[in-house]
Symmetry: C2
Subunit: 711 residues, 2 copies
């Protein structure tokens, strides 16, 4: 097999063989529709899959016509009884029809971008070897704005990015439009993503200067045909920095006028500009609280400037003034936002991370979901694996995303899932959105590894349809990215589906969280204690609360009572160790090392066995992959095999360091048959990876010690 | 033409057509020699150029044999009367011979890497359409160590890098060896580069920890077959940071023992390790002066640790304690090092930048060249265009490198060129070296633009043979990189050859220097005055010394007298404005705005006309390129065309801002027919590009002003 570098993602369009080829060739013989990105993609895809370009016709002339278009772009589509109304502005249908006696497949929608989504949907059928003989598919997105948040800095670096530097080459915009911008837009559109926030939430005002806006407009021009709107992160202090005002007070008319003028200026350049993303009063960022105003007053300032142009503001709920809420950081967003329910303008979306802390391997759902019935809430997921092994670990996030969406808030009884809060069906909201923190960069393979691509893919697919299963998505992705051979697909999907739980097991089992090395968030750091000048909630011990008696963060009424932020049903379940799910146990409860788990094991034994199981799972994945070289080209095989070797080493490091640390506190023996960590705790504490990609300033936090590589 | 992304550099090996194809096919019909990188490259190259793989034989069996090897790897080579002795360890010969009645070409050397250099040399003949019928070429490098200095940080960023993040993916080493590492080694070997310093001269001790050394060893393993030795930048303070010693004093026996042990540890991992590169007592870096020791004592500390293993230390002369030598920073290196001549160990090379300041568009040669007859001096050039337009500007540095090498120090009379100091022929030195600060990064095209690749190429070719002309190198590069069609080659070479002088003209004509924006070094900043807390020599006005009377830095006896650091002949020439070359005039002299130039123009008029000429030259280059699309694939054509548009805008910005600034001081009218800058000086001063790639922290230095793009 020729070497592949991963650049083509899941849009490889490699030749179909055997029976499928003849079936598909019969099904697709000519393309009938107007020129544009949909036709270009269909031609590109079918040429690749079927081995030869299709004739491009203006009318159906033979069996196997692929007719595509909207009622306005295609009189033929208009003439068919397709009932397009129900598809809305973004949906599509794919249906087998007969036109003038010829068998044809029609891909129809109300808008050009709907047709493009349909084109990608049709190609996916072929890529995944689905029959296309009797098609009747209608697909519309449940969530209307499906957005990637790029934490890309204007100097080209990416905060928490593990796939090279920024895709956006600011220094050569607007003049040069890299072909890669178009391929980015194609990849996004292929999975239904229709928005992109170009710059880091830790934003600078420079993005709002005319020269940067001209660059942004150029990118927006590339994205437009693919149905992708451009958004920008902006700092709350922009009126001071750029406008030379003395204040950014949201109630100051000069501030309001400045934003109104700036927004108008943006829309002159970019008529379909999406709006703003704001991180305010969090981790040192300015915000309305600097002026004694509420988050709602801050959000509405921007909302009013954007509303006349149809723009929206995504206002992050991830507020935490470092150190200020040190009793339980998990409560701060809820405490700040819950009282503001109903006070946000209609074009505000409050953007809530899936969990109350920060993108951990596992968190309970965020208590704001279900708690703000009168506010548009959107869900923020992290596709970039900041806390999940970064570039090299294989961790398929489909199960995490699925879990986050399916978690039931019980706000209006059973079935009040986070997905239904997000898609607006629970409270009847009309403005709906979901965001994923992007994992893309300039690396040739876009995401740092081949398997990281699956997380971008899964985010897009779930954003379109939160009801999809992570397993079905993995199945699709594997077929499109590698091979549809079932001898390859089945073991790889199994490996992917187990990978997130493996990471939870070897990093933070049983509801633990934030045990990573400080700063870099890579590798174990359970011993990281509050340091001088650092807020306590930037330490690991703040979260584990391990002591001679036991381990876990008491968030019940005897502790921080964060559990009370959930609806009564959920609070009751989580609040009782007997009913709290094992995998959230230590998130909500401080329990004795000798606490009896439902399995009969002690908590200590169970904890240790989870670490072991995590390592075991990575070993198994590695063994599985080792058998699969016949199905993959050598370059992607090697990259993955080498990364799995790294992950196995890292998993063992996590397991050994964590057991060594917690055993130094529990003073309990290891369960029978479990191997002791090969080195001392001091050894693990001294070891440190001083630099990782995408990490602001890890150096100072790393002891400069001349120690050996951990085993 | 199919789109090309530039990844293949000058090693594209695209099919030869027409007469040349039949001639070359007859000349190369079979490959005779041992397996290895030379055979692999010959096979790869000839397969691409000639359209089909060559048979690989163990003996000459037909006309057109290409025989390659050393006397040890090939009995056939050994049997031929080739007089290989004179080739030394690195040279090669390529000769047409008859073997058993068959016409053959032999590529022979004393070492495998010599054969590899010969293989690349042979392929270059075909790539540049040279006849290969009667070959008798012998080539040996004039300088024995030809090194790339990578200013790559361990977190993946590159200081002053404009081509994406680091090539070295530390997080996945040693496990994963990216295919790109091998392609890097191939590219280096193809132009004779035989050393690579992997990390930034602003170094951290972490590079010397066992886990990083294991990664370095893995890279060294990739480089080894290509004849490339790995070197490391190290901080002088490593014994304190890593060894927990209280001091790094070079005379402290514990410090000496620590380095000896560390070096021994490195050589256990990497037996052919090259040695260290040190930046000491410069820009905040620690060094021997912290302990009251000389630079020579510092260098010898490392030299003695490395000597038993055959390692060398490259000790940078770029010492300047910021603010300490504010009378004339150009003098500090000379003042520090000249008294130490003869005091350095044999395995020390003092690494001297081409000019006394810092990689400006034009500087006089560094006065240390010729002034240290008893010390090994090596030349440091900058391939990365820190001060020359960075990623986007087309500035071919061949002429700058050529000028730097050919500058005559007159240290031992006429012909005492910098090249002859560097290659050891002037003073009979045996340890010779040259370094180039690399312009490579992870961008698909390696160097940020296609034309930036030419600077990497030119550095390598001149390092091998400083006697080559920049024009001949450009000619080769254009043919290999684009097309050998003379209708393309001639105009492109002309454009390249004029490009550096154009940049000098629109940035810093007539011997001006350091007029760039502070921090980023991109765009004009002639108004940058000494700021509080900033050393005066980090300002532009420190260098221009423009006042109501005139402009220029008086470095004659009436000023800093830096000119006296040159040999008498040179000092006399530079010290008199009448004999000082125009292009260095303001480097050495402060002259009246009304000073009469040899042309009859006043200095002011001449200055203004230089700015104009620079812009004109870029416009002409752009017009030239616009006519050349028939000869280039669209992707590389478009990238270059767009970058030239950016450069034209930047050149005009430089011209307008510089004229506006200097006119505000000279109060002289513009020469007849010269257009006034379209905006006010205040406008240019307010405009700023806040972020550039590869720039440490430019933000703070940029006024946050909401101004329009400059015209």
């Amino acid at each position: 097999m020729p070497a592949e570098d991963g650049y083509r993602l899941w849009l490889r369009y490699v030749p179909v063989h055997g029976d499928w080829l003849s079936r598909y060739r019969a099904a697709a013989t000519e393309l009938v529709g107007a020129p544009g990105v949909a036709r270009a993609e269909l031609q590109r895809g079918l040429t690749g899959l079927l081995g030869a370009p299709l004739r491009e016709a203006t009318d159906v002339t033979q069996d196997g016509a692929v007719l595509f278009g909207t009622p306005s772009s295609s009189p033929l589509v208009k003439s068919l009884p397709l009932d397009l109304q129900r598809l809305g502005a973004q949906g599509y249908l794919i249906r087998t029809v007969t036109i003038r006696g010829h068998r044809a497949i029609v891909i129809a929608a109300n808008t050009d971008v709907g047709v493009l989504y349909g084109a990608f949907g049709f190609l996916r059928l072929l890529q995944t070897r689905e029959p296309v003989d009797h098609l009747d598919i209608a697909s519309t997105p449940d969530i209307s704005r499906r957005v990637l948040d790029h934490w890309d800095n204007l100097n080209g670096t990416i905060e928490r990015g593990y796939a090279g530097d920024s895709l956006w080459k600011w220094e050569s915009l607007p003049e040069h439009l890299s072909p890669r911008y178009t391929d980015y837009a194609r990849a996004c559109a292929s999975i239904g993503i229709n928005g992109t926030v170009l710059n880091n939430v830790n934003a600078t005002s420079f993005i709002l200067t005319p020269s940067y806006l001209e660059k942004v407009a150029a990118l927006a021009g590339v994205m437009r045909p693919y149905g992708i709107r451009v958004y920008l992160s902006v700092p709350f202090s922009a009126p001071v920095a750029l406008g030379h005002l003395e204040s950014a007070d949201p109630l100051d008319p000069r501030v309001q006028a400045w934003w109104a003028a700036k927004v108008a200026e943006i829309y002159r350049e970019i008529p379909d500009f999406g709006g703003f993303l704001m991180k305010a009063n969090s981790e040192g960022q300015p915000g309305p609280e600097d002026y004694g105003r509420t988050q709602a007053q801050g959000a509405d300032l921007l909302a009013h400037a954007l509303a006349p142009h149809g723009g929206i503001i995504m206002w992050r709920a991830f507020v935490y003034t470092t150190g200020a809420h040190s009793e339980d950081r998990a409560k701060q967003a809820y405490d700040t936002f819950k009282p503001l329910d109903g006070k946000f303008a209609d074009n505000v979306l409050v953007q809530v991370k899936n969990g109350p802390i920060d993108f951990q391997p596992r968190e309970p759902f965020h208590p704001l979901f279900g708690a703000m019935p009168h506010t548009n809430l959107m869900l923020e997921l992290q596709i970039s694996k900041e806390y999940l092994g970064q570039r090299t670990s294989m961790v398929y996030l489909g199960p995490l995303f699925e879990e986050a969406l399916r978690d039931d808030t019980w706000a209006k009884g059973a079935g009040s899932t986070v997905a239904r809060v997000t898609d607006g069906s629970l409270y009847g909201g009309h403005l709906t959105a979901i965001a994923g923190v992007a994992n893309t960069g300039s690396n040739r393979n876009w995401c740092g590894s081949i398997f990281n691509q699956a997380n971008w893919y899964a985010f897009g697919r779930l954003a379109w349809n939160p009801g999809l299963s992570a397993r079905a998505i993995a199945d699709e992705w594997v077929k499109m990215t590698f091979s549809s051979d079932p001898r390859f697909v089945a073991p790889v999907v199994k490996m992917m589906m187990g990978s997130r739980e493996a990471a939870v097991d070897y990093m933070t089992p049983l509801g633990l969280a934030s045990q990573m090395a400080a700063g870099t968030h890579f590798g174990p750091g359970p011993w990281v204690a509050p340091a001088r000048g650092m807020p306590p909630d930037w330490s690991s011990t703040y979260y584990s609360r391990a002591d001679a008696q036991g381990i876990g963060f008491d968030r019940t009424a005897t502790g921080s009572n964060a559990v009370a932020e959930y609806s009564a049903h959920v609070a009751a379940q989580f609040g009782n160790p007997a009913t709290c799910p094992d995998d959230l146990l230590l998130w909500f409860h401080h329990l004795s090392w000798d606490y009896r788990m439902p399995s009969g094991q002690t908590l200590w034994d169970s904890l240790v066995l989870h670490y072991d199981r995590g390592v075991e799972s990575v070993k198994e994945a590695r063994e599985t992959w080792d058998t699969l070289s016949p199905y993959v080209d050598n370059q992607r095989y090697r990259l993955t095999a080498d990364f799995l070797a790294i992950q196995e080493k890292d998993a063992e490091w996590w397991r050994n360091a964590s057991i060594a640390y917690f055993q130094s506190i529990s003073h309990r023996p290891l369960p029978a048959g479990v191997a002791a960590p090969p080195d001392t705790l001091a050894h693990y504490e001294a070891f440190c990876i001083p630099f990782v990609e995408g990490s602001p300033s890890p150096h100072a936090e790393c002891p400069t010690a001349d120690v050996a590589v951990p085993r």
